[in-house]
Symmetry: C2
Subunit: 374 residues, 2 copies
């Protein structure tokens, strides 16, 4: 006997299917993972999409009524396309043994389905540690994914290291050429285990929470992190292994410091990048000029093409002048991650990494290794 | 001695460079065609971009002042990037023998240039026929490029055939599976020669004129068409050859006619397309149902995936019922090109092409060959 289901608001269903679709396997040898798992219970629908590494589960309350409890796996891309293109409003579903019919007005679709009991189980149990964190704080930490390694040579560097200590959580990412660190102060102590969250999952989680002003819930087990924001749960497998100790790479003796306007630096570097990105190393030269109005010269050149020079006034200059080369891309990404109006540069000699720190309330820093001159 | 030039409004320059960039050669063995030809005369700047088949020339009056007349070829992509990223406002240029410097505030770029006298001459002379036409009328005709062939096997079908006769201009495009025709009635007689305009140029010209409510000027020679809209001139080489005679492929004996709502049909076909596009032929079945409320059934199915059926009420049904298969894509493209609220379908038996005509003021039609059943 077929199960009859009425969906009240197709637009709400489209919004939730679109979110769950992000975790659906796009290229896989396991056909059932290309589907949505739909679980109907009375007036509640639970949508699951997963590629086994990442799982998104969304519960819709009061948007459907089903004649009996029922579960089915439908082809995700096509099902989403159909619901999106149907006129907004009510949709009727009829679920049979191997097929589902989708009807709205004079439109009727019939799709082959897959068996719900062959879908992997992603039971999100309640073991492990569970804490609450402000969505914007978490998002700032997860945005460090920009600094993660994209190489599979060192798997631990493909993730963000998350460490909590007393009332602080610190996020660290590095690809061994540059590093980003971000610390969030909390009202209460979080007892999270150390973990390495894959950069790809961090990126998706940011999209999920960036418009949220509330707190979200993090739930950790030994090998997974689960984020719950309203009716959406995103679970990601963690990267196993030991994250490198980073404290020894942070210079302790600083030879030059100065402060500059972050917004202006971003605009200047975007222009410098027009020239520098034409070269393989995407490299620019930073040079501090000491005078009554101290400034930072930023320049790049490409043989056969041309060159650029920009000047930015700096303040609070202390210590030696310096002239060093850096990746324009790394400088830009580090500065864009920060929000502060002004940033402090700290240099420690020709071959030591440059430190950039936001001023004000933000507690983070970026570390960028210089490019050695040929 | 270097020529000094001041550009007053960098945003205006960006807008015009962006338009001219469309014609700049992106992949070419002739390096100078990757540049903009800039010609400064007093307070006037003429920008030229060309890949030799298509040339865009834009004249800016009163946006610059140059110390002396001067012409130079600058690398187009990089020059456009630089001007776009500079702060809005005034820019200073200094043009030397082999380089140009671009300065705004504390930014200075220096680029290698190419010699203006090595740039091909695109003198747009005044021979040939010159006529005025309403921009929207021309755009409707040029939008038929959707029906042009993309195959190089029959070069003449890669263009739109434009024929004027007394006070009418007719545009025709076909890829031999479907055909679109559009006629524009004018106030006066246009004495244009017959010509075949490349589909790619037609598409670009539509972008250039679609926001214009004024008349534009067309200028034809034996092998080129030139369109002038305000301060922009777009010249395209024409396709040589004889366009096929189309009158004999238009059915004269009609066996079924009916009228349907165009908007509704487009939405229905977009949904049908979700299923039909999964197959190689992207094929749907049209079936006319005669009853007190006659309707058109549109359906598609894919083995192993599913099927869809849609129903649209029709009016003014006359003649035989029919059941035929068509490309969903061709039906959609033909209906989207028209603006009329209602369209008339005319069928002439199992293997004859279907005619779709807009009702009301529009004088055009689309012709689509049925897909033969296997």
């Amino acid at each position: 006997m077929k199960t009859k289901i009425v969906i009240k608001d197709s637009e709400r269903l489209v919004a939730d299917l679109s979110k769950a679709y992000r975790a659906v396997a796009k290229q896989t040898t396991i056909p059932i993972l290309t589907g949505f798992h739909l679980q109907f219970t009375g007036e509640s629908l639970t949508i699951t999409g997963s590629d086994t590494d990442n799982t998104i589960q969304i519960t819709e309350d009061d948007n459907c009524s089903s004649s009996q409890p029922c579960a089915v796996v439908v082809p995700a891309r096509i099902f989403l396309d159909i619901v999106r293109k149907l006129p907004a409003g009510e949709i009727q579903l009829k679920i049979g043994e191997n097929e589902i019919s989708i009807t709205a007005g004079k439109s009727t679709f019939e799709l082959k389905t897959m068996k719900a009991d062959e879908y992997p189980s992603f039971s999100l149990d309640d073991t492990g540690v569970c804490v609450e964190i402000q969505a914007s704080d978490l998002a700032n930490g997860l945005r460090l994914e920009y600094a993660c390694s994209v190489s599979a040579m060192r798997p631990t560097l493909q993730g963000i290291h998350i460490v909590s200590k007393e009332k602080a959580v610190t996020f660290v990412a590095t690809d061994s050429h540059r590093l980003g660190s971000w610390t969030v102060q909390l009202d209460q102590e979080l007892k999270l285990p150390k973990m390495i969250l894959p950069a790809t999952a961090a990126e998706e989680m940011v999209k999920l929470i960036e418009d949220t002003t509330d707190k979200v819930t993090i739930h950790c087990t030994e090998n997974s992190l689960r984020l719950t924001c309203k009716n959406v749960t995103y679970a990601s497998r963690l990267i196993s292994g030991t994250y490198p100790e980073i404290s020894r790479v942070i210079p302790t003796i600083i030879s030059t410091t100065f402060v500059a306007n972050r917004d202006e630096l971003v605009k200047v570097l975007e222009r410098v990048s027009i020239v520098s990105k034409e070269g393989k190393a995407n490299m620019c030269r930073l040079q501090v000029i000491q005078s009554a109005m101290p400034s930072l010269l930023i320049s790049a050149s490409q043989e056969g093409m041309g060159k650029v020079q920009e000047e930015v006034f700096v303040s609070d200059l202390e210590g030696d002048t310096f002239e060093m080369k850096f990746s324009t891309k790394y400088l830009l990404e580090a500065l864009r991650h920060m929000k502060a109006k002004e940033v402090m540069f700290q240099a420690s000699g020709a071959n030591a990494p440059l430190i950039i720190r936001p001023t004000g309330d933000e507690t983070g820093f970026a570390l960028i290794l210089p490019v050695r001159s040929a």
